[in-house]
């Protein structure tokens, strides 16, 4: 099930962390119990209270043996419903159902040794607590220092439409939005993709999945209307589905047509439907930093994204002119990041922003009413620098890219 890593990193732990938890509790890790733990924690965002503030900061800590011991003590005292408490409680709950697991958990000193052991443990607890408090203080400082750069998100009660949620950025956007408490309407291109995704998501997740083949004109508004979704009911729409025919000539008409249909015309179609009405909402267009320059053998991908960005700007001006300022338009032009559309190689790995980070930035930017976003920013600056060098420089640099 967990092919692409944990769905909800605030709650779930990976297999290494599970082994650490088992070693800490003195029990043997078991693969089938890890699967159950993972499935349980995947449903946690929809069952339990979301951590906030410092507790949320601590949930991002990767569990090593030392940190786990600190987190165990600290959360029991200060955050009794912290995700790590759910992890420890669930691991104990699962292992006590298992014959061997129960024997390991229940082994205890008897008779007079019990009294000695208790005295020893309590003394040890006192020392460990001092280390924990120091560690906690240090982390609190780190948390406070980072506060100006962090924006807390609470998407509870928001309904978000995201296209192309079965993989790539769309998938991360959906998972992050769900983890933050939003309700997501996600579209995918085929029934098969929908079935696979539905099997992976926990049953409680408030995600409504729809099949919409947006290479067909008018498909998205039609599917939404058929499923009784009104434009007023959507707070935020993120159009994220896109195609790129790598290695295809920009003269190949069928590929070019499809690229424009999916990357550009479907957006215009949708905006016609979405911008009617008077409710406050946001539209996020996921373009590309490549819209600033041409690129050969892309089946017209860069051209379609250039059209999208320019059209998005135009739409914003037009909405302002007709007094529809309650619709925010945000244009996202991601540069290089781990998107599933590219292969990762050595240097790229170092420079890539993680896809989940980009998803976070898009959601918080959209909620804050930002107009444009170009993650990672250094890549945008580099691109612009090259663009300022004129067509000759661009030609010399980009034409060599295979």
């Amino acid at each position: 099930m967990m092919m692409q890593g944990p769905l909800f990193p605030t709650w779930q732990i990976d297999e290494d962390e599970y082994r650490t938890v088992c070693a800490y509790l003195g029990i043997s890790p078991k693969a089938h119990l890890y699967e159950k733990l993972s499935a349980y924690l995947a449903s946690a965002p929809f069952r339990f209270k979301r951590p906030r503030g410092f507790a949320l900061f601590l949930a991002g800590v990767r569990l090593t043996r030392f940190r786990l011991a600190r987190m165990d003590q600290a959360t029991r005292l200060f955050f009794p419903e912290h995700p790590v408490r759910h992890v420890l409680n669930c691991v104990i709950g699962l292992h006590e159902c298992d014959g061997e697991g129960y024997r390991e958990l229940a082994s205890a000193p008897a008779g007079w040794r019990a009294a000695l052991a208790i005295a020893g443990w309590l003394t040890g607890y006192g020392f460990a607590l001092m280390v924990t408090l120091a560690w906690l203080g240090w982390n609190f400082l780190a948390y406070v220092a980072g506060t100006p750069f962090r924006r807390e998100q609470n998407l509870a009660g928001k309904r978000i439409l995201i296209t192309g949620v079965n993989r790539g950025l769309g998938r991360d956007l959906m998972l992050h939005a769900l983890e933050q408490g939003a309700e997501v309407i996600g579209t995918v291109r085929s029934q098969e993709a929908l079935d696979n995704l539905a099997a992976e998501l926990p049953r409680e997740a408030p995600a409504w999945l729809l099949v919409a083949d947006i290479s067909q004109p008018g498909a998205l508004p039609r599917v939404l209307t058929e499923n009784r979704t009104q434009a007023e009911a959507i707070d935020l729409a993120i159009l994220c589905a896109g195609v790129k025919h790598g290695g295809t000539s920009v003269l190949a008409m069928p590929a070019l047509r499809e690229t424009f249909e999916v990357n550009y015309f479907s957006t215009v179609d949708f905006a016609n439907w979405f911008c009617a009405g008077n409710s406050r909402k946001s539209l996020v267009l996921v373009s590309s930093i490549g819209r600033w320059h041409g690129m050969h053998l892309t089946g017209g991908y860069n051209a379609s994204k250039a059209a999208l960005s320019i059209w998005g700007e135009s739409l914003e001006m037009e909405l302002r002119a007709v007094g529809k300022q309650h619709i925010d338009i945000m244009i996202v032009e991601p540069g290089i990041f781990e998107s599933g559309m590219m292969k990762r190689s050595g240097v790229a790995k170092l420079l890539l922003t993680s896809r989940r980070d980009v998803a976070k930035q898009i959601l918080s930017g959209a909620m804050a009413g930002k107009k444009s976003l170009r993650p990672p920013f250094w890549f945008a600056v580099l691109t612009w620098a090259v663009c300022l060098g004129g067509r000759n420089l661009r030609y010399r640099l980009f034409a060599r890219i295979k």
Partner: protein
Amino acid sequence: MKIVVIGAGVSGAHAALTLLERGFNVELWDVGRHEDSFPEPGVTFHELKNRLDDPVDYFLGRDLDALVPPGRGELLRYPPSRHFLASDKDPLWNFLSDGFAPLGSYHRGGLANGWGANALSFDEDDLAGWPVSFSEMDSAYRTVYARIPVAGPVHDDLSSQLAGSYPSQPPIRLSSADERLTRAYERKKSRLHGLGIRLGLARLAVVTDPQRKDACDYCDRCLWGCPKDSIYNPGRSTLQACESFEGFRYVPGRRVLSLVPGEGKITGIRFVDTGSGQTHVETCDVAFLAAGALETGAIFLRSLRAARPDISPETEGLMDTTVLKLPYVALSGIGRPPDSRSFQYNRLIMGILGEHGPWPRYLHAEVLHLPSLLYHPLIESMPFGSRLSKKLFFVLKSALGVVSLFFPDKITPGNRQVLVNAGEQREAVRLCYQEANEKSAYITQSVARVRAALWRLGCMPKGIIQSAPGAGIHYAGTVPMGEGIKRCDATGRSNLFANVYIADGAAFPSLPSKSISMSLAAHATRIARSARL
């Protein structure tokens, strides 16, 4: 003459059996779901973890619904493998709740599929305010004790308080923790009697005679379903006794909605066929309502609305016991190895005696040394991290216990069932309940006495857990005995419909502290015996 008994729980089963013994033909209508048999008889709770294919699925459920999350204050969740309980998630459930979270059962045997097996009778003092004397009830108790095997002592310190109790089986075996506690009790007896506290062996509707095939084998799985059928279940033994009569017909798949009113009588019964979902009416001459106090109250209210639309469709009462749990650590048990086999439910009971205004003299408590449970909620509720809590817990395990106190209830204005009178939910019944203020002083005082007694017994009480209203599962008093058309007479006959008898706890005009199942059986027996048919 067509006699229909509605409901196959403890009340319905004993009403039907008594009528059959009187020579009448009886139809017993019931929703009639049933549980599968329980796995691996003879294997203990902990051994089961090695024997099942997927023990996590069995113990915690497919979605780990029985895993108690941190910070919930629950000590245990009901085993997910048991599904005889019904609540608001059940499609047949038609109650709305206002501060009262009830449970019911649509299974053959009703809530007795998972009862705690404590078998006590109401004595003269408990029956104060009832239009029935103890001697009238006593003859019914004798019949019921002859039908239900009850394990208990011939005589102990509680015997004088437990009139109407006739054990026929040897007492259940005590665990070593119980034995340590009883030894401490013997030493401190006079001081404890001064506090009004008495400790005794539990009276349990369990077969313990080792000669019998269905005798308890101490597998520690009571809560998970007795695989040997040692704990009394009316859906099995009493209905089997009914089935030996030719005039008996068990009719499953029927959920009764209401009675069809005629001239001072009913002419038929309106029910849903649970298979097809269709509503039907069938005629009958006499009906015995034994669907449990909540359902009986609901059926009565729907019938009342049909017969007398001018009267507001709400019951005279709604009662339940308030359950309070006092966990403790028995200091002498620290570091002791746990018993390998034992009876999972309580093997000791405590009586707290004294005058408390309108309440009965005897307050019932059950003393339980934690045998086999899922321990993660207890570990998580300790004030340390998981690692230390887990280690401490298993050293303390044999020392841990809990005293559950069952506080009585009486008919209080405002606590009632109200039929929704308009709209889509016209058939639904709202349960309105608030804990009576006057009870809180009684509770505080009793808790203080039990705590003092625990200290004397070498036990350290720690904390208090109060269950939500409705969790007592001793529902009663929705069509109580008394005067007025919303009540029934001393023979259980409805004051509104001359051919309807209230054969279950709905007829109780007050709810004593003692466990009610034996009194439900005795009441049903008495009503069926005295009915003028």
